[in-house]
Amino acid sequence: MSRIGVFICHCGENISATVDCTKVCEATAKLKHVAYSTEYKYMCSDPGQSLVKEAIKKYNLTGVVVSACSPRMHEPTFRKACAEAGLNPFLCEMANLREHCSWVHEKNDSTTEKAIDIVRTLVEKVKHNEALQPIYVPVTKTALVIGGGIAGIQAALDIANCGHKVIMVEKSPSIGGHMSQLSETFPTLDCSQCILTPRMVEVYQHPNITLYTYAEVEGLEGFIGNFVAKIRKKAKSIDEKLCTGCGLCTTKCPQKKIPNEFEQNMGNRPAIYVPFPQAVPNKPVIDKEHCTYYIKGKCKVCEVVCPTKAIRFDQVDEILEVPVGAVVVSTGFDIKHADFFPEYGYGAYKNVIDGLQFERLASASGPTAGEILRPSDGKKPKNIVFVACAGSRDPAKGISYCSKICCMYTAKHAMLYKHKVHDGNAHVFYMDIRSAGKNYDEFVRRAIEEDHVNYIRGRVSTIYEKDDKLIVKGVDTLLGAQQVEIEADMVVLATAGIANSGAEELAQRLHISYDSHKFFAEAHPKLKPVETNTAGIFLAGACQNPKDIPDSVSQASGAAVKVAALFSQKELKRDPLIAKVNRMGPPMFSTCVGCFMCQSVCPYNAIEREDYKTRDGKIIKTVAKINEGLCQGCGTCVSLCRSKSIDLFGYTNKQVYTEVVALLNEYL
């Protein structure tokens, strides 16, 4: 006979403020088979857990219901506590009284009644829980890093330095990401290339890292420790082994007017190109969309001039399938582009540019060799306006969040401008200055006090062209909402940081969650900021939300430690909440009739055929069998099975039907 213990947590006041915990405790104590019921202020604390452990021993409990927060939060905590007291951890269930009750309802009788209903449901369920043993699976000690920006580079190096193999996949022809486009970095004003390129080279030369550039992850199958990644290596149209990176082809290519993505379209590049001089690998690729040969069928100038005969026009995309044990997603971010700000003339006026374009103008390797010149006529702008929060914190435009990096880089831009154009005037329109970070606020103060950048608190309503000037109309809220009008030569918009264009598709391919802005979602906002909801997949950098370099690097190292911890285990322990096809003695063997509908719906190919044979090898019956290593416990086969021969541990038919009955019948 079941002996169930119910432990009701107040969660400080989080639950007890709206739910009458004493009443819940009294009501549940009267339930059939409840041997013990108690309440405590913090059940997850050490004394709280001891309370559970002692009760298990004292009352010889066969099942435990902890009525506290979401099982997504503390189920592992309490299952572990039960195991320590000698109770099988799978005999512990959690009733979610916080997220699903006390936090979402007002304080009244019906809230307490709902709490009692929830606890009663779980009490009835736990009576049918079975003692289960964990499953052990092997680990492939190779990590996949998707995205070769600073976050991906850091994660790959950290994992590789722990002695594990890493496969890095980068979409563009070179690693380096947005950081390689930056001129100088805040708050130290050291050159971005100088600190980044040595790390890029380190990745390329590291014996534990395999780098695939110009490649994309097309799919990910399997589960933690045992994924198989499908990688498409796009045809670069060159033989990388033969190419020496001399660059002769890039200078002779007749196509020279293709907008250069690396320069944010402010310069041109040929059809066979290396994205930037410090690219890693420093070998060109042919852009098939613009190459004369691929368009018209003749040209082949590069093939003629190549001294090592490395050009391969007939190269095709290659698909690789690689086993990996863990994945770090570090695909970075993008910025809002033109057509989002018609009132600012972004995209319409040549001298209204975005922050990344300004980075290229200020960069020594940029299109102007580091001189700040207007894109329209190449003149030095004497009056420059920076607009912070262009799109960010603007729910009307669909972006409610703060892009985090703009305040700092706008201060940096204004400073760089003042250092390069000594007699120029820099104005910054801002909503608030958010400069939290080590030496960050000091940096902004320096821009204002030492470099005399004119900070104006207020928003810009419109920008229009008049002759060769840009008229910026805004408001100064610190001067009593006074109208401000500035005749500017150039305007830089700190446009909102947004998720990369392919983020949603990638999330779907990897089966990870994403938020309403398409940024990848962490498993817990505070305590699991690096993990995703899918075990074995971790996040690093700005693909989670806009982040600066120090934050991206720290998170990347965090993700690397998670991967290393995973790889430090010989075998992985997995919850045995998987499906099982019933078995019985001959002549039935199983109620399974062998229709194998389950096989066609299983997303993991976990359903096998098992033959029962006579002594002379004649098949009597073929029934389904679940491969325990492959089954992930979704239960789709269970609800599909026509003969009800499959059941799912943790969510058996008995359990879920009992839950329905218990939820709706108070007399139980």
Binding site: V104, D117, S516, S639, L648, V660
Partner: protein
């Protein structure tokens, strides 16, 4: 019918809607307390016979909710649920169950506010329909008939 408080059972998947409902809590968005959640690993696991079981036990309304198409943690469970739902819906409609008593929705882990909206709109709809006693009576009656025939 203003004092009628419907009993509504919600069958949700662990990865999207359960997490979304957790977010509703974390965001402290208030909603009607009539809805009680039963957690499943995936909408693919939700056996639609559970819906009939719920009505037979006195439920006035039902919510089934999982991950948006393409977002399923298990790749395709929500598609299987949706397909079976299309079939099952026709059956229930044929039986005379008012489809306004059932909500089938997608709520992701990021949509805390949407969960509150799904719950509140379902509660309101079911409140207007009144208690669903006819199904329970029908079940009890058929059992009685069976017994008397024997």
């Amino acid at each position: 019918m203003s004092d009628f408080e419907p009993k509504i059972v919600a069958f949700v998947c662990n990865w999207c809607t359960y997490a979304g409902a957790d977010l509703t809590g974390t965001s402290r968005i208030k909603y009607a307390s009539n809805v009680k959640i039963i957690r499943f690993p995936c909408t693919g696991r939700i056996d639609f016979m559970l819906l009939l079981k719920s009505f037979a036990n006195g439920a006035d309304g039902i919510i089934v909710s999982g991950c948006h198409p393409n977002d399923c943690h298990y790749t395709s469970g929500n598609f299987h649920a949706k397909r079976r739902w299309i079939m099952f819906k026709e059956l229930m409609d044929f039986m005379g169950i008012d489809m306004n008593r059932i909500t089938f929705s997608w709520v992701s882990a990021a949509e805390g506010a949407k969960w509150a909206e799904v719950v509140n709109s379902t509660v309101l709809r079911v409140k207007n329909l009144g208690p669903f006693v006819s199904y329970k009576q029908m079940i009890n009656k058929s059992i009685e008939e069976e017994v008397s025939n024997e």
